[in-house]
């Protein structure tokens, strides 16, 4: 059930966020088998700094999108 719910969430998120394609540029820091880059970026909710590692530590589905 949990996997079914997550599949629906992924599908909904991808369909909702628009954009024509999914593409990781070869040679960027995001590579299978390697740690996700540890970045500190502003949180959307309040603009405060949040580290990516703050949000990891358990199985994570990371969805990178734009509203346009």
């Amino acid at each position: 059930m949990k996997s079914q719910i997550l599949r629906v969430m992924i599908g909904a998120a991808i369909l909702s966020a628009g954009g024509p394609m999914s593409s990781i540029q070869a040679g960027t820091a995001i590579q299978e088998g390697k740690p996700f880059p540890d970045l500190t970026l502003p949180a959307l909710e309040d603009g405060r700094p949040r580290s990516i590692t703050d949000l990891l530590g358990q199985k994570t589905i990371l969805h990178i999108f734009a509203s346009w």
Binding site: I10, P20, S22, T53, L56
Partner: protein, 382 residues
């Protein structure tokens, strides 16, 4: 579930998430520091922070969820933004990479005045590495951010477009960079409408009894325009307001008019969207007078060219006098069978303006000349 949004205006992403009822934590990467080429992207990351899949299918998700790596819990860490003064000090003698990293941090964490330093740093980095598309893109994002702030300087938006265009010339396969130009560009170059969903989102959120998140910068004009295969010049049959040139001139002493040309990202296309940004020069006393009529702009396309609208209107506000910035946009392209050539577009703005907030109010005309030059791969304007 965690998100990262690649967007110049994160407030719009907040509204979008509220609309779609997406309630997971999201970080903002306005500069595309991750250097993605397109979105959306879904990535599976395991408990150890290792990327397990960058393009998962449903079967990949099943395997990912059923794998039995131990849950180590979230590491305790506190994200601390860089010390701004330390960044400024280290960037004084830094190489291009140090300068860009410092500028990125000033963009992310600094206050308004830090945008000026960020822009200086990016320029210094570009002087060292003129072929670095990423630096050009970041500089464009920063110029646009300053353009939308209370520290706006004349030319900021044009500089943003200039550097986004330069970035795309360096790497034409970077679709995030391409989309940033298309967001403000001609309808013939748009893959889809960018922000036409905003009003629907507000309506549906309100219907749920919620207050829609506010947007400090409203998407207008090109940002909500729908794609079009051709230039629709059907609305050009209107009456020129001052054909005999009888209205007295304002030589630019009361109202400043900035011209920003957004070319098509298709180098074979000659279409462009022209943004005219009109701002009262308040230090000289200039104020809009809103008691009579709106601001109008008349455009004369040169022979062999057509525009989507010859007469543009920028409405006023309720107050009798005001000093807000007014924006009108139009699109231009060559008529069928006509070659693209360097051109100058003539036009003029007509406006009711006061010489101070309580002074004499006048009806004035300011002539406009927009020059479009087509170098091999891009259009430049003066």
């Amino acid at each position: 579930m965690v998100g990262i949004v690649l967007e110049q205006h994160p407030d719009r992403a907040r509204l979008f998430m509220q609309w779609k009822q997406m309630d997971w934590p999201v970080l903002v990467d306005a500069l595309n520091i991750l250097e993605l080429r397109a979105v959306p992207v879904t990535i599976l990351i395991d408990e150890a922070g290792i990327v397990r899949s960058t393009d998962p299918r449903a079967s990949d998700l099943e395997v990912f969820l059923s794998s039995d790596l131990p849950d180590r819990g979230r590491p305790a860490s506190v994200a601390i933004p860089p010390d701004i003064q330390d960044l400024k000090h280290r960037s004084e003698n830094g190489d291009a990479e140090v300068l860009r990293a410092a500028a990125d941090s000033l963009f992310l964490w600094g206050t308004g005045i830090d945008l000026d330093t960020a822009i200086d740093n990016y320029h210094r980095a570009i002087n060292m590495e003129p072929g670095n598309g990423t630096t050009h893109f970041h500089l464009g994002v920063t110029y646009r951010k300053r353009h939308e702030s209370d520290r706006r300087r004349e030319g900021d938006f044009a500089q943003a477009v200039e550097h986004w265009s330069r970035a795309l010339e360096i790497d034409p396969n970077q679709y995030i960079w391409r989309r940033r130009i298309q967001q403000f560009g001609p309808r013939q170059d748009k893959p889809y409408p960018f922000y036409d969903w905003v009003e629907t989102a507000r309506t549906e959120i309100a219907a749920r009894g919620e207050m829609p998140h506010s947007l400090p910068v409203e998407p207008v004009g090109a940002e909500i325009a729908h794609p079009a295969g051709t230039l629709d010049s059907g609305s050009t049959t209107c009456t020129e307001p001052d054909p005999e040139s009888r209205i007295e001139r304002d030589p630019g002493k009361l109202i400043r008019i900035e011209i920003v040309t957004i070319p098509s990202t298709d180098p074979k296309s000659a279409s462009a969207r022209i943004h005219l940004i009109m701002t009262p020069i308040t230090e000289a006393g200039g104020h809009w007078n809103n008691e009579v009529g709106p601001t109008e702009v008349w455009i004369h396309p040169p022979s062999g060219w057509e525009v989507d609208r010859s007469l543009l209107t920028a409405p006023g506000v309720k107050e009798p006098v005001s000093d807000e910035t007014r924006l009108v946009e139009f699109e231009i392209g060559p008529k069928a069978g006509h070659d693209r050539t360097d051109i100058t577009i003539q036009g003029y703005a007509l406006y009711y303006v006061c010489e101070s907030s309580s002074g004499v109010c006048l009806f004035r005309r300011q002539d406009i000349a927009i020059t479009m030059i087509y170098p091999e791969n891009s259009v430049r304007s003066r």
